[in-house]
């Protein structure tokens, strides 16, 4: 009997643990959102977060987008050639970048760069009692550490996604015009004509959701880190894994929400 019940018990414990974790993250996120509308507000920390998450992420976002757009153009051209549909390169690059690859890749890059950095920073603050120090200095850690980062993520990641979309489309354009002999004006016209406002809106909404996920997960894991260097390492690793999976899951849900007929 125990041969049967032991694995089931382990599975049950894992499921319960996962559900408890989801509950804790949800409560943390709700708490963070509730603090966003209650003073005091820390403008200086908000500006620093905007700079860290937005401006300093531009190079990685730009490079990711341009190479992805270029590779996408090559793939679509090669695939389209099998049934004489090479001309669809501008349309598919545009729709692929704006609807899916732009937001997802920017989201994953933000998870890698920003979530890890937030988790490591806050976890280190916890280990070195800086979070306790904040409390004794009458400063709520949620307001001082989480809210500025969450707000910055919600504001600046859609902007990064927009920039990534444009650079990705440009990457496809550059490859198509220089390597695949597309006419530049026709390529641009086809791109602009094919994109619809909903494509752009969905891209930016995804950006905001992914920005929220990336920052909340960084803060949650940082605030709940274990002790010592191992605790900081575990928080960093856990935050990036969780943010990446949640971003991909949210992308699937949002795509279904926006584009299922």
């Amino acid at each position: 009997m125990s041969v049967l019940t032991k694995p089931l018990g382990a599975l049950g414990r894992a499921v319960l643990s996962a559900l408890a974790m989801i509950g804790r993250v949800a409560l943390f996120a709700l708490d963070a959102f509730s603090h966003m509308v209650r003073p005091p507000f820390y403008a200086r920390e908000m500006l620093a977060a905007l700079f860290q998450i937005g401006w300093l992420s531009l190079p990685v976002v730009g490079l990711t987008a341009i190479f992805t757009g270029g590779a996408l153009a090559l793939q679509i051209y090669a695939g389209g050639a099998r049934f004489n549909a090479e001309a669809v390169v501008p349309q598919i690059v545009a729709i692929g970048m704006v609807r899916e690859l732009g937001p997802v890749l920017v989201g994953l890059m933000i998870a890698a760069r920003v979530t890890s950095s937030i988790a490591a920073e806050i976890a280190t603050m916890k280990v070195t009692e800086q979070i306790d120090a904040l409390v004794t200095l009458s400063t709520h850690p949620m307001k001082y550490l989480t809210v500025p980062r969450l707000l910055a993520g919600l504001i600046v990641v859609p902007v990064l996604v927009g920039i990534g979309d444009v650079i990705g489309v440009f990457g496809g354009y550059a490859v198509a015009v220089n390597n695949l002999n597309f006419n530049a004006a026709t390529y641009l016209k086809n791109t602009v004509d094919f994109l619809e406002p909903l494509d752009i809106v969905s891209s930016l909404v995804k950006g905001a959701v992914f920005g929220g996920i990336a920052t909340v997960m960084g803060c949650f894991y940082g605030m709940n880190s274990g002790r010592g260097a191992q605790g900081v390492g575990g928080a960093t690793k856990g935050s990036v894994q969780a943010a990446a999976i949640l971003i991909l899951a949210a992308n699937f849900l949002l795509t279904g929400l926006f584009f299922s007929v």
Partner: protein, 248 residues
């Protein structure tokens, strides 16, 4: 006056505090001593609300701290953390003036900076330290900056968590003298946690010994050497034999 009555705190199966009863009179300096892992830091964190106690009451001037206005309560406290707990991303003067740059005690930036520099001078640091970052300072200097931050808003109650840990004997002596002077001149109530018996004798008016989650002995520093308490005797003389197990 801080009054603790029957304070309990358990982490999982580990019963850290098992009914702590303690009174700290206003304007006095209480030092809590006890072995590693005896729950001294947990006790201090329970008073500040950083850790929620399971049962018992903690009262400040007769008012239950869990029911008091949190901001008003914390505004009365200053704390020096064991490792300094300075904010790495802020220069020294902003660490010291942290409370004066935001919240209910907010002052204009120039005034906050002036106060920070004055507090740095009070703990023996020169104004050129003000614009450095914590990582650029030695351990002793970081402790002093932490002390300056603890006293910046002139609190009524100051907590010191292992103020001399990791410092050489000379620097430890400097910090002990500073704490004693500051507490006396500010008329503040102080509560210190330490293992360092030199600190105890330099800082304390009263002493409480925490062991097995309860206060085993409490009394004035003048009775430290003739308390007749076997736990206290073993601890202050650093003996391996006695009622306190050496290997815990």
């Amino acid at each position: 006056m801080i009054t603790l009555t029957g304070v309990h705190k358990t982490f999982g199966t580990n019963r850290v505090l098992r009914g702590v009863d303690l009174t700290i009179d206003s304007g006095t300096s209480m030092v809590i001593i006890g072995g590693s892992g005896s729950g001294k830091s947990v006790l201090l964190k329970c008073i500040l609300g950083l850790v929620k106690h399971d049962s018992g009451t903690i009262a400040l001037d007769g008012q239950d701290v869990t029911r008091a206005d949190r901001d008003a309560f914390l505004a009365r406290f200053g704390m020096l953390f064991q490792g300094g707990a300075l904010f790495d991303s802020l220069p020294v003067w902003q660490n010291v003036a942290f409370r004066l740059l935001r919240g209910s005690l907010k002052r204009p930036k120039s005034e906050a900076r002036e106060i920070a520099i004055e507090k740095l001078r009070r703990v023996g640091l020169t104004p050129d330290v003000a614009d450095k970052f914590p990582a650029e300072l030695s351990g002793g200097m970081q402790k002093r900056v932490g002390l300056a931050r603890a006293i910046a808003a002139e609190p009524e109650i100051i907590f010191f968590d292992e103020p001399t840990t990791g410092l050489d004997p000379i620097m430890a002596g400097v910090i002990n003298d500073l704490i004693r002077e500051i507490v006396t001149e500010m008329g503040a109530t102080a509560m210190t946690i330490t293992h360092d018996m030199t600190s105890v004798r330099a800082i304390a008016d009263n002493i409480a010994m925490l062991h097995d989650g309860v206060i085993k002995w409490t009394g004035p520093v003048t009775r430290l050497d003739d308390s007749g308490d076997p736990y206290l005797d073993q601890f202050i003389h650093g003996r391996a034999e006695g009622p306190i197990a050496a290997v815990r």
